[in-house]
């Protein structure tokens, strides 16, 4: 099993602040996905990164895939309460998920 470790496990910050969460592995992935999950619902895809070094932006969210395709980061600029949720990374063609970062944005 290719393990994906996410950090931090929990993060609580004030509205308007910036933050970065990480997804790391000792294995190489051909692609990596980021999902967000809200209480009582299933995860919803945010982005897929495929190329080492790739950077993708989704409004205030910036996703980066490491050059060696073993790690990824998610940076949120000017966090808003609507960003609150569980952020999950997934690799190995959907078979492996990280343990998640539970993000809370305080108004």
């Amino acid at each position: 099993t290719q393990l994906l470790e996410q950090s931090p496990q929990f993060l609580s910050i004030q509205e308007g602040e910036n933050l970065t969460v990480y997804c790391n592995s000792s294995s190489v992935f051909s692609s990596l996905q980021w999902y967000r999950q809200e209480p009582g619902e299933g995860p919803v895809l945010l982005v897929t990164v495929v190329t080492g070094g790739e950077v993708k932006k989704l409004k205030r969210l910036t996703f980066q895939f490491g050059d060696a395709r073993k790690d990824s980061s998610l940076h949120i600029t000017a966090a808003q309460p609507g960003d609150t949720g569980l952020y999950l990374c997934s690799g190995n063609e959907k078979l492996t998920f990280g343990t998640g970062t539970r993000l809370t944005i305080i108004p």
Binding site: P43, V50, L95
Partner: protein, 114 residues
Amino acid sequence: IAGITQAPTSQILAAGRRMTLRCTQDMRHNAMYWYRQDLGLGLRLIHYSNTAGTTGKGEVPDGYSVSRANTDDFPLTLASAVPSQTSVYFCASSKGRSPNSPLHFGNGTRLTVT
């Protein structure tokens, strides 16, 4: 609305009982998956199916079985439930296994085994 339907939404089950969690998708996706989600452990794959008529074991298959008789349905059966199977179970589907085929999840079944 197209998507994945899971039933039941929640269930309390006595240990030793048999239980089938239902999952139906109307998107004509080839691949389907069952995950369990536990605090601190994230989502772990139980079983998957790349196409109708085929199934495969995931990370935590013991105590669970699946079948894929057709494209739309992918039921998960617990033959004899144990308390460690208390969890939230998510069914998901995707067009295929490529990176450009995102997972679509149902809203989960919360199962408590007493």
